[in-house]
């Protein structure tokens, strides 16, 4: 019993740390671009490569743009991509998984084999092709991530639906005249929520990583817009002279991803839900 309590305290601590960290980062990402006097694109030739000061907390880059504003602007794009793709892929995955599990037969076969088909290829390859074709912006990154992003939550929901649909309480609901949507909503999904939420929590950092990775490689968010990945790439050429320009976006990106992983691990331990 004692060990169980300690485990619970540990997972609570991990979860809490993650949530507080994420809340702070989100708050800064939302508020700084609104309330700061500088814009993310404003160049000032007199203020190039400055260190940290009261006016420019993270200093300025080689075009004299304020890095504090740019970093938090980039965080905002990261959060948008992460949460947006999680919402889309989660919704699509739940609907497809539920439909496949409930219908069974040929529909199930087609939907899940389609999932196998798109899931077999590294999603980054699809994302790169799509950003090259439809332009480098948050929309194409979202589209690219969602091509294969729905598969994991669809598999979880489908397995849960298949397990639950033959159990007595579902039979009872059906005999009482409940339709498939009502059964899914009130009887099946509440059982599946735990694993789905854990899987989607780990999906957000994956999506954020994808965006940062693409922007770092040069096919992500286009200049002059700032993304954490492109900020790191831009500062790389001067990393010997001005390492701080690279370290600030690195720090924020890492903290963001770690906070999301903390939340995921905390939820996983707390509920005893494991992925796969």
């Amino acid at each position: 019993m004692k060990r169980k309590d300690r485990q619970k305290a540990e997972s609570n601590f991990i979860l809490k740390t993650g949530v507080i960290l994420l809340a702070m980062l989100t708050l800064l990402a939302v508020l700084v671009p609104i309330f700061s006097g500088q814009s993310y694109a404003e160049q000032n030739p007199d203020l190039q490569n400055l260190g940290s000061s009261a006016a420019h907390l993270f200093g300025t880059d080689k075009f004299g743009r304020d890095l504090f504003v740019r970093v938090w602007y980039g965080t905002r794009i990261s959060l948008f991509v992460g949460i947006g793709s999680m919402a889309i892929c989660g919704a699509v995955g739940i609907v497809i998984g539920a439909a496949a599990g409930y219908a069974g037969g040929i529909i199930d076969l087609l939907l899940m084999r389609l999932g196998d088909l798109v899931d077999a290829v590294p999603s980054l390859l699809y994302v790169i092709l799509i950003t090259l074709t439809f332009g480098a912006n948050a929309g194409s990154i979202l589209l690219g991530i969602c091509i294969s992003g729905w598969v994991e939550s669809a598999r979880i929901v489908r397995a849960e639906v298949q397990r639950v649909k033959t159990l007595n309480f579902c039979e009872a609901a059906r005999i009482l005249g409940a339709g498939p949507i009502r059964i899914l909503r009130t009887h099946v999904l509440p059982n599946a929520w735990g694993p789905v939420i854990v899987s989607l929590t780990f999906f957000i950092p994956k999506a954020i990583f994808t965006e940062a990775f693409l922007s770092f490689v040069g096919v992500g968010i286009e200049a002059p817009q700032a993304s954490l990945g492109s900020l790191i790439q831009a500062a790389r050429s001067q990393m010997r002279l001005y390492p701080s320009q690279m370290l600030y976006p690195i720090l924020v990106l890492s903290l963001l991803l770690i906070s999301l992983h903390l939340i995921g691990v905390g939820l996983e331990q707390k509920g005893g839900w494991n992925r796969r």
Partner: protein, 309 residues
């Protein structure tokens, strides 16, 4: 087993075909022609397009491309007309392959050991340290790790080389930055399945027989816990191939990843398409091999799959 192999093979083949088709048609839609440099006149442009077969309808181009592909011909690089895509792959593959294999070995060994340590250790600080290690390892992106390692060990302390692959010391930093994430994932998987296995009856029986925990872990548990790790080989191959884009660019290693990033910068469409298809096929192949291996080792897996279908 034959039926299972056939079905898995068919799915893999379809995946490859879908990837090729998507890659082909998206590449044809990409904005700008590779020859539009401004200093080429209309006549020369037409002649060049004719030479590359770009004047034909897209469907005819698709048929030609597929036919050449079946002979192992991925086309000619637009930017380097002397070099075919196959030659580029042959030239760049060894570096990427050696890095990737080393990273796989490191992450499998380290991940298995750390995962079992986390599952079996009686000391709380050991478990907590490994847990936070996996969170950091999985959270921090590979290019960030590579940049920080290059900055600290290469630029500040000048301990290790950060350019090329000349001696064994220059393998250390790239392999470390590639292996961090897979190590974290393998550790997590291993620890998780070990804990699940510990609840099973054969472990209880071994305990009752009086076997020490160490013996139980090394002779019984780890073999069962390794199947999920084996299943992770496909995603790991995908991660290592895409990870090579950034790691090879940061450490200037002449491998597939750097070729890919350069081809994106040059908008060298045939090369982008060829490398995408090649990498996709590699990952699909690894996935297929692992699935067949697991099904061969554990008949329950192929049974549940066939029942599914």
């Amino acid at each position: 087993m034959i039926r299972y192999t056939g079905k898995r093979f068919l799915i893999s083949l379809l995946s490859v075909w879908m990837l090729i088709t998507v890659a082909f048609f998206l590449t044809r839609q990409m904005p700008g022609s590779p020859f539009q440099t401004g200093n080429v006149s209309g006549e020369v442009l037409e002649q060049m397009e004719q030479e590359y077969g770009l004047d034909q309808p897209v469907s005819a181009q698709y048929v030609t491309y597929m036919r050449n592909l079946l002979h192992g011909d991925l086309g000619i690089s637009y930017m380097n007309p002397g070099e075919s895509v196959t030659e580029v792959i042959a030239r760049a593959l060894p570096a990427t392959l050696s890095l990737g294999i080393l990273a796989v070995i490191v992450s499998l060994v380290a991940g298995t050991l750390l995962g079992m340590l986390q599952a079996f250790s009686q000391k709380r600080w050991v478990r907590t340290t490994i847990l936070f290690g996996t969170i950091f390892g999985a959270g921090i992106p590979n290019f960030v790790i590579a940049l920080l390692l290059a900055l600290v060990f290469g630029v500040q302390w000048k301990l290790l080389p950060v350019v090329g692959l000349d001696s064994w010391t220059s393998y250390l930093l790239p392999v470390l930055s590639l292996a961090a994430y897979p190590t974290a994932v393998v550790t997590r998987l291993m620890c998780h399945t070990c804990r699940q296995e510990l609840q099973k009856e054969y472990v209880v029986l071994a305990k009752v027989k009086g076997l020490p925990m160490r013996r139980i872990a090394w002779t019984h548990v780890w073999k069962n816990a390794w199947i999920p790790v084996l299943n992770y080989a496909g995603p790991a191959a995908a991660f290592l191939l895409t990870g090579s884009f950034v790691v090879e660019s940061i450490f200037t290693i002449p491998g597939l990843g750097r070729e890919f990033v350069n081809s994106i910068a040059n908008r060298d469409y045939t090369l982008i398409m060829g490398l995408t298809i090649f990498m996709g096929v590699v990952v699909i192949g690894v996935n297929l091999a692992v699935d067949l291996l697991c099904a061969w080792m554990d008949p329950r897996i192929r049974k549940s799959y066939l029942k599914d279908v």
